[in-house]
């Protein structure tokens, strides 16, 4: 039998086995519990402001706290969990036992990504449910208290809340894939986390680089801004919050575009991560 015919077929099932084991490990991490608790407390704290405003302003504040929690805590969780779950396997040498099995390294990379991402999706889902419950309850009580202000019915677009959560899930998918890429050649999880945070910040500000690089005179600055605007994903695109909950409904086409954007970047980073990890010596 030739060597070419004796190759191991790539299996999504093996990647999924790694993903589900990774997820089980991740939701047991104290960090996951801490972040979820912090985010829900942050949401609950928004109720403290009810005495100052009522109507759409108060509902906006509750929404903003919820969105902020999803964005900030979700991103932090994505960076830390991805780095720890991936690099932790290498650090504890469980990766050696795993990779001594008949699996492709790219299956390992994809499995780790899916496990980390699904962990943060779990967090996003919990926070979204809490936010919807909080808004529904508060809006109902406001409608009873100030019926004239709600003649046209409820003003919160609950469907759009789900849209925002979806957009955050996509953004976090990109972040997870970036952190896993850095983890494939990091010798410590700290390096991967630091790089993940850097990409998070620069990705959020990338749209400013895009606007700014045409406006500066210095060629060095132009080069830097141009590089940042092309080489890094624009994570700010996924901040659909303002348009979502209390304003107009965003189109399904927009969400499809965001999904395509995230899919392409995520696939690119995971492909590079697989190539990098294939060359890593354990």
């Amino acid at each position: 039998m030739s060597e070419a015919s004796q190759s191991l077929a790539w299996s999504f099932s093996r990647a999924f086995a790694i993903a589900s084991n990774t997820f089980r490990e991740a939701v047991r991490m104290k960090l996951f519990l801490a972040m979820t608790t912090l985010a829900i407390c942050s949401l609950a704290s928004s109720f403290f402001f009810r005495e100052f405003n009522f109507g759409s302003s108060e509902l906006k504040f509750i929404t903003d706290f919820g969105f902020g929690g999803m964005s900030v805590f979700g991103s932090a969780l994505a960076v830390i969990v991805s780095a720890q779950l991936f690099y932790g396997e290498i650090e504890h040498r469980t990766a050696m036992t795993l990779l001594a099995k008949p699996i492709h390294r790219s299956e390992f990379v994809l499995g780790k990504f899916m496990g980390a991402w699904s962990t943060v999706l779990c967090f996003l889902a919990m926070l979204t449910l809490c936010l919807i419950a909080a808004l529904w309850w508060r809006e109902t009580s406001l409608m009873a208290e100030y019926p004239d202000s709600f003649q046209s019915g409820r003003i919160v677009q609950y469907g759009s809340l789900l849209g925002f959560a979806f957009a955050q899930a996509l953004r976090i998918g990109i972040l997870c894939s970036v952190v896993i890429l850095f983890s494939t050649y990091a010798s410590s999880s700290l390096f991967a986390m630091v790089m993940g945070v850097l990409i998070w910040i620069v990705g959020q500000l990338q749209h400013i680089a895009t606007e700014a690089w045409g406006a500066v005179d210095s060629w060095i600055l132009k080069g830097i801004y141009a590089f940042v605007s092309y080489a890094l994903p624009n994570l700010h695109l996924f901040d659909v919050g303002e348009g979502a909950a209390l304003g107009e409904n965003l189109s399904l086409v927009l969400y499809a575009k965001l999904a395509a954007y995230a899919l392409l970047y995520g696939t690119f980073y995971l492909a590079i991560a697989s190539a990098s990890f294939n060359r890593r010596e354990l």
Partner: protein, 267 residues
Amino acid sequence: MGHSTWRSQALASIDVSSNRRIIPFALLGALILGAVLAPLDRSIRLELGQGSEVESLRRLDSQFGQGLSVAILGGYRSVAANLVWLAKNENWEQRDFGGTLAKIALATSIDPRPEMFWLNGSRIIANDMPAWEVGDPNTDILFQSPEGRAIVQDFGKRALAFLEGSRPYHARNSDILLEEGMIYWRKLEDLEAASQRILEATRGENPPYHAFRLYGEILTRMGRKEEALRFLESHYLTLPDNSYDAMKVVVADRIRALREELESKAN
């Protein structure tokens, strides 16, 4: 720590030895991907109305330095703006002109996206500040004396200047255009400018039903009753039957009244 030891430790934190050949390909791939996705990026930004932020950052930088700009451009940007807006209430209660204006400006600088900041901010400037200027016992003079009307007009102009700052983010926002129209109408008594703004509001994004009724009304006030009638008749045809906000009955009554008035005039 010696330089060589520090360098060894830094290098030890990454293991690029086996990946050096990948790095240039990865960077090139990232640049190509970014270039390919640039049109999609622009299309999404356009649809979301994510306008220019460079200018707002410059304003913030000049006041507070770049650290704040970076700090606020994260997921809690809206929260930061909300907290500033809430803090403004204390200045408002104390009728502190400078403090109130500064916090309104800061809130809209941190996060220019919520229309609520612009609308309520302009209303504070146009409606509340004239009363602060003359004091509560003397608010009657705002409408009865030339000096009072001058104060109202002055704050009206300031409110319009404030709303001008919303243009990059809310160019076609009907509520903001309507607000400008009402300031021109009620504060500056400039019906021509008011009618233009209110007409723009009816053509903006998600125009409220009352914008159309207001345009009909202002045309009537300006003596352009035939035009008002035609406008309201065409607007009436678009109204749903089961919407409270549409006030179809009220519009119908207004059309009837205009027709009767014009017919009696003709006769």
